[in-house]
Symmetry: C2
Subunit: 390 residues, 2 copies
């Protein structure tokens, strides 16, 4: 009874906020970025409740939608449903064999949630009515890859009267680290288990195998505008020290292939350049990889990986890929989008553009980068597949 | 009644362990390192209870004994008592105007603790009977600079039935960080406050001021056997790039002054060497600082500090000192004794011996190191001075 009273008060407050922000919501619905998500989430446009399903994943956006890939694969026989918050999340989730919806704003959930069995909520997607109504209507609620950052904890702790209620609706919390575990318990959660970060379970494999050439092979992966210059210069300097070294340049965006080819000819006129699309080999001094989907295949035969998107403020690219194949990684320092994953990769050299040449020399003595840290995905799959509703 | 039962069971268990380890204790009492501490702690030799006092600090060893210096100073009008565990802690504590004792092993505490008013326990010195008996006999018990490491937390959490009891005896827990706060609360503690690390309150000041010379001044502080060679070599290389640079070498141990002087003459024959004890100036190319107590005065006028004790496995030296004076810090990587303090210092370059020269070049563009992080010492002093026994 007291719970119901709280639920109603919460719903009223949310509905009030909804009413107040309505003009802004309508305005933003015209923006391209929000064109689908806002009408779906706030006005129910093209967003009916899920048809019957076994497991419902709620993710936020692109990152979490991709992170559940290994789970989706191993839960193949179940009927899956996925709710998302953002447009990019919707796009990524739509690639799975699953029903995909936008998660309606909270007060709508009273009319939207229908007989769920298992709700799995990713990361920090803590919505009180989502947890409460799913639980009330028969689902077990599981928080997966759950985390509370050091920075957020004091804020959450001040609101502990609220989070205690919210977390009480959770049947199980699988969190990323013992740090997160302590924070959840401090907020009053029970049934907390550390299983690791599920992003470590992403499948990284090569699709084709190429012969490994003689001499040191360096791959500059996912490079962006303004990064190739420094890499080419560093390679030229490094060649004086190691004349057998070869370089592969893999620009991130295909529309830049032509431009990068010109850049190579211009900056390294004395070297032999080949294009991957013509030669399909790494015999030349410098090879421009003007093809998509080859990066992991090339990491697999390379000694050193210079990881792009981090020498300019792009945010970095996935370091687990080169680390999985035992490349010695050299990265720029602008890794703000990938910081979480870099935590699990050892022996990376983070350098400025002008230090790439000396990092190449240093790499000779360094051990290959490797992925440290693990996740007990089996434990999660087993739990999702077999445990009964409590 | 149930509490008394637990206390007696705990005491019996401790007494049993005491009886079992007695032969080992007697044997170790002959070792130089334990000659005073073991007989005092386990056999009551020269270790009477404290005479009446206002505030009783319990510290473990050297580090914590030094850390309370700013508190001891600001609590000058109070009668202080300090208990320690180790010999080095005893030595450091004996420098304060306070009674100093070794903390007896737990069962003895029943006969040893007399009418305390306030017990302040440092860091992770969690002894159940100490907390319990001090509390029972009228003291408020305060944990200061309290911490539980990420690594220890899971162990503590498994024993939470015990730690919940222990922490319940604590009137206030002043901890180092929000990380520690979450862990203490997860273990069932109440009255937890984050005030920061009291080691950040240590007084760092120069005692004399010297004129700052023209050109870049580099000070190699607290260098150890086997470290000067690489520093001199790096300085020689750096001079080609910056001919105005000057170097001060401050060996950690006075007995090595002569040897280091020889080393400088031998390795840098083309440079002018002076000895601080003779010149008291930094005019020469290289100055050997063969004097004690000048390090902070020299940090105060230097641009770059190469911090010794970290290029060999010594464990590092205090980085707060050069950082306080705005030096650009270059350190080795072997900082295992100082890791905690390095956490609070930004922009430090951690390099191998052979990279010191390039670190010197890079230092030109880097901002000065600085101390980030603070401690609310006023809050602690106010609490210790004014709050009543609850």
């Amino acid at each position: 009874m007291r719970k119901l009273f709280f639920d109603l008060a919460y719903t009223l407050l949310a509905a009030f906020l909804y009413a107040v922000t309505l003009p802004v919501l309508i305005l933003f619905s015209f923006k391209k970025k929000y064109r689908h998500s806002l009408p779906a989430r706030f006005f129910g446009v093209k967003n009916p409740p899920f048809a019957p399903h076994d497991i419902w994943f709620h993710v936020c956006s692109l990152g979490e939608a991709k992170a559940i890939a290994p789970l989706v694969e191993r839960l193949g026989e179940k009927r899956l449903a996925i709710s998302v918050i953002t447009h990019t999340g919707h796009e990524a989730a739509s690639k799975y064999a699953a029903q995909v919806r936008y998660l309606p704003f909270e007060p709508w959930l009273w009319f939207w949630i229908e007989r769920p069995k298992t709700l799995v909520v990713l990361e920090a997607e803590f919505w009180y009515l989502l947890f409460r109504l799913a639980n009330k209507r028969g689902a077990r609620v599981i928080a997966l890859n759950a985390r509370i950052s050091e920075r957020s904890f004091p804020k959450y702790y001040k609101m502990r009267w609220f989070y205690r209620r919210l977390l009480a609706e959770c049947d199980r919390i699988f969190c990323q680290s013992t740090e997160d575990m302590a924070r959840f318990i401090a907020l009053g959660a029970r049934n907390v288990e550390v299983v690791g970060n599920i992003k470590l379970a992403q499948k990284i494999e090569s699709t084709r195998s190429y012969p490994k050439p003689d001499g040191t092979l360096i791959v500059a992966g996912s490079t962006h505008e303004g990064e190739e210059e420094a890499i080419l210069e560093a390679f030229a300097a490094y060649r004086e020290h190691n004349p057998e070294a070869k370089l592969l340049v893999v620009p991130r965006h295909p529309e830049r292939f032509g431009k990068v080819a010109e850049l190579i000819v211009q900056r390294l006129p004395q070297m032999v350049l080949s294009r991957w699309s013509e030669s399909r080999s790494v015999g030349a001094d410098v090879t421009l990889v003007d093809a998509m989907g080859e990066l992991n295949n090339l990491y697999a035969i390379s000694d050193v990986a210079i990881l792009g998107g981090a020498f300019k403020p792009i945010g970095g690219h996935n370091p687990l890929e080169p680390a999985t194949f035992g490349c010695k990684i050299i990265s720029g320092k602008e890794i703000f989008h990938q910081r979480e994953l870099f935590k699990y990769v050892s022996h990376v050299q983070f350098v400025e553009s002008e230090e790439i040449a000396s990092a190449l020399v240093r790499a000779e003595k360094l051990p290959p980068s490797q992925v440290e840290g693990s996740v007990d995905l089996g434990r999660i799959v087993e739990f999702l597949k077999t445990e009964k509703i409590t």
